[in-house]
Symmetry: C2
Subunit: 142 residues, 2 copies
DNA sequence: TCTACATCCTCTAGCTGCTGGAGGTTCAAG
DNA sequence: CTTGAACCTCCAGCAGCTAGAGGATGTAGA
């Protein structure tokens, strides 16, 4: 039986985060000690490791919920899990493409900075005038 | 003199967002009509365009605050703006590297999925066992 | 057994960067 | 003078945690 602190250390999670996952129903309510402290077994350790690993791969908590559900039902079709992973892969690829455009633009800004004062700073100039940009970087966020 | 709605359209910003920027001090309080509605001039249009463009390039609102301040003081050194842009570039590069690792791992998961049921689903298997991973993808988030 | 002190508990609020809605007012056209 | 779009303020919520207050529990050493 593990305390929440031990579980936290073993999985590289913060204690607060574990309680948060429990609160939103991602982890089951664990047993408690006589005094009311959480006590975890190995199955909960596995489950949290799964969650953390999926988070590291960028899956949303909602996606993880689905994946956990699939994992809990070994008879369900693998195709669902596959679809979730593909969706995630697509998202990652989209983000990469966007970041690539940003990188190009930022590199150009920085490269062209001559080092005078801000009156004719290339960085600020580009920000002031969108038409200075070569690449497409319309959408904000993600 | 522009209404907030017109300003919103011209800059591709939502009305709420403009009010939000004002609230957090990123945009100055504009003049008002007799009835109390916001009225904007071209200088405010320029400022908001600047903000939006910087956001598109992924700068945080705090960074934008600094950039605006630099832009307002043409005698300050360009080096500061340059440093902010370089910082942003570095962040973008770090995120790209991370996403690259994720992409590799996700591609592998998806490629190796044989299409049976979840009992021996490759996707779930990898999530269950971190040691299956080839690449490094430690940190969570952004 | 007592005491110290780390760890645990619940609850609330905050972070970024918006976004949406309720409930009410103003403006411009017809 | 009416209509209806656009405006106003204020509050709540999204993801995914994180931090802190204020108090209870657990364990190791004296």
């Amino acid at each position: 039986m593990l305390t929440i602190g031990t579980l936290a250390k073993k999985t590289g999670t913060k204690v607060q985060t574990i309680r948060y996952y429990e609160q939103i129903g991602l982890l089951p309510e664990p047993g408690r000690s006589a005094g009311g402290q959480r006590r975890y077994s190995n199955s909960e350790l596995d489950r949290l490791s799964f969650v953390r690993h999926a988070r590291q791969l960028g899956f949303s908590l909602d996606a993880i919920r689905e994946l956990l559900d699939l994992s809990d039902h070994p008879d369900k079709s693998c195709a669902d899990a596959d679809a979730i992973a593909r969706r995630q892969l697509k998202q990652v690829e989209q983000r990469m493409a966007r970041l690539e455009a940003l990188r190009t633009e930022l590199q150009r800004m920085v490269r062209e900075c001559s080092g005078g004062d801000t009156a004719d700073c290339r960085v600020l100039e580009v920000l002031r005038d969108h038409s200075e940009c070569l690449t497409d970087h319309e959408e904000i966020g993600a």
